[in-house]
Subunit: 307 residues, 2 copies
């Protein structure tokens, strides 16, 4: 089935304890679509770049069956740019610079064919833009998922609450969940977020894995313990992309299938952090992915024997 994703396609300057990358390829839609491309029948992007964005990268995406009909290239303008520096623990980072550039007046217009996509993943953008995309869809997708961040809770909470009523699944990190719900316990936070709209709540905890909530049902997916995290940039978007790609491949929206989707998302994220930028996501094989999934199965599998 077909997955539509809306989000940034951008440049990142990244500094980690392992090195530095300038003008690396980044952006939520980039990571989401690459990760999903290993599973979905087709991935479609709605986004905007300047004419400084390399044609070769767009070809990389196209060659992975990612449809760029909804990617606007603005002549004479520059692509969105973010610069950040990771701390030694790789779990926290400082934003050094953000240049909105083409994103400043981004007003996504969906190509006709996109409007009936089976699955919709709204990457982190202003809630108003996310809502306008939902409103352009014809018929209800099987599942609408949304990512957001603290920044929008600070300056656009009312708009965010409006869009939360229209989605099926929220994918955010632990700190964002706590801020959105105004409570420390993630179990309580998830229950409060359910009340705001989303039937499914996915809370990402970085190296500590992710939790999936549907009412009283909870699933805990671990992150793969890694000796080295080379560059965490895009790991969250890659997780969402793997998850949504798996749903688009299997077509089934249920708690049981979402569990598997989250394991696939976690596996894709574990590849993402092994190299700078999107590098590791360009040429994975089925063997690579199957072997990684097998590691996750081994990591959590135990035979339960009643006492």
């Amino acid at each position: 089935m077909k997955l539509l994703t809306v989000g940034t396609v951008a440049f990142d300057d990244i500094e980690t304890p392992f090195g530095r990358a300038e003008k690396a390829i980044g952006g939520a839609a980039t990571y989401i679509s690459l990760a999903a491309s290993y599973f979905a029948e087709q991935v479609r992007i709605v986004s905007v770049v300047g004419d400084d964005f390399p044609e070769s990268v767009l070809q990389d995406l196209t060659s992975r069956n990612i449809d760029l009909a909804g990617l606007e290239v603005k002549k004479g303008e520059k692509s969105f740019f973010w610069a950040g520096r990771y701390h030694n623990d790789m779990n926290s980072r400082d934003t050094l610079e953000t240049q909105l550039n083409v994103l400043a007046d981004f007003n996504p217009i969906l190509p006709e064919a996109y409007k009936s996509s089976d699955f919709l993943m709204l990457g982190n953008l202003t809630p108003d833009i996310q809502l306008s995309v939902i409103e352009q869809m014809v018929g209800k997708p099987k599942l609408i998922a949304l990512d957001t961040m603290n920044f929008w809770m600070d300056i656009a909470m009312e708009s965010l609450k409006k869009v939360l009523k229209r989605i099926d699944m929220l994918i955010i990190n632990d700190e964002e969940a706590r801020q959105l719900a105004g409570t420390y316990s993630l179990v309580t936070a998830a229950a409060m977020i359910h009340e705001m709209g989303p039937k499914f709540v996915v809370i990402k905890k970085g190296e500590h894995g992710a939790l999936l909530f549907e009412g009283e049902n909870i699933f805990y997916a671990p992150a793969l313990p890694l000796a080295e995290v080379f560059d965490p940039t895009g790991a969250g978007d890659t997780f969402a992309g793997g998850l949504m790609g798996y749903l688009a491949m299997t077509g089934e929206v249920s708690f049981e299938n979402l569990k598997r989707a989250i394991i696939y998302g976690s596996a894709m994220a574990s590849f993402c952090v092994e190299k700078f930028s999107t590098e590791r996501l360009l040429n994975l094989s089925k063997v690579d992915i199957d072997a990684r999934i097998d590691k996750f199965v081994k990591l959590v599998n135990f035979d339960s024997i009643p006492v």
Copy 2:
């Protein structure tokens, strides 16, 4: 089989956002033995208290088939005392007061019958005391496990390294593992700790669960996501007690069986934090424990379907 544990039996003053308990029953050996008593054939304690320690509590322990032949009661002296205050997130705490009292010159002497115990759990104490207990054992137990803390790494690292060579399993938290190995990655830390002696390394991550390492093999046990953590005191010792009790019940030392043991430890810890002090550990039923284990199975279980 029989489990011997050495550790404190003590009083705690505890302050949490939910309330305050004065002179609550605490101590590593108390929590370890109570948790293990649900599984092991018999639990034996080596410890010391003053004559201020309530006889009724000792009766509670005895009634759970915990052997107190190795518990010295020192006339005219006071029991070990700790006072602490938990922060709002319940993940960090300040020590307000520590009174060593009877612990200042604790020199554990093992009753003859204890020396051939099948399993040995060394609770957090000075490494010299832990070593002296190992040296009193007759024959090698099936498994020796040890808990320690940053404090001993700061002031007694050489003694600690000596005792690490004599044990089979180290059970510590993530910050302690990082300090002991001098590295941030827990995967690398576990590999370095293996080199120091222990074949098995268990790293506790509080609300994020626990990792078991045996060489290249890794197992990730989640913690149960809870809406409320009432009092985290003793959760780590309860985890170790459930784990060692399960081993003593089943008698099998293998990676596969240790995985199950860690799930049982995690289940017992999830009970511990539901009430102040040891209260929740005094009257659990088999039905309570089986239902809790079932929650852990549901929490991590997923059907893996190859793509």
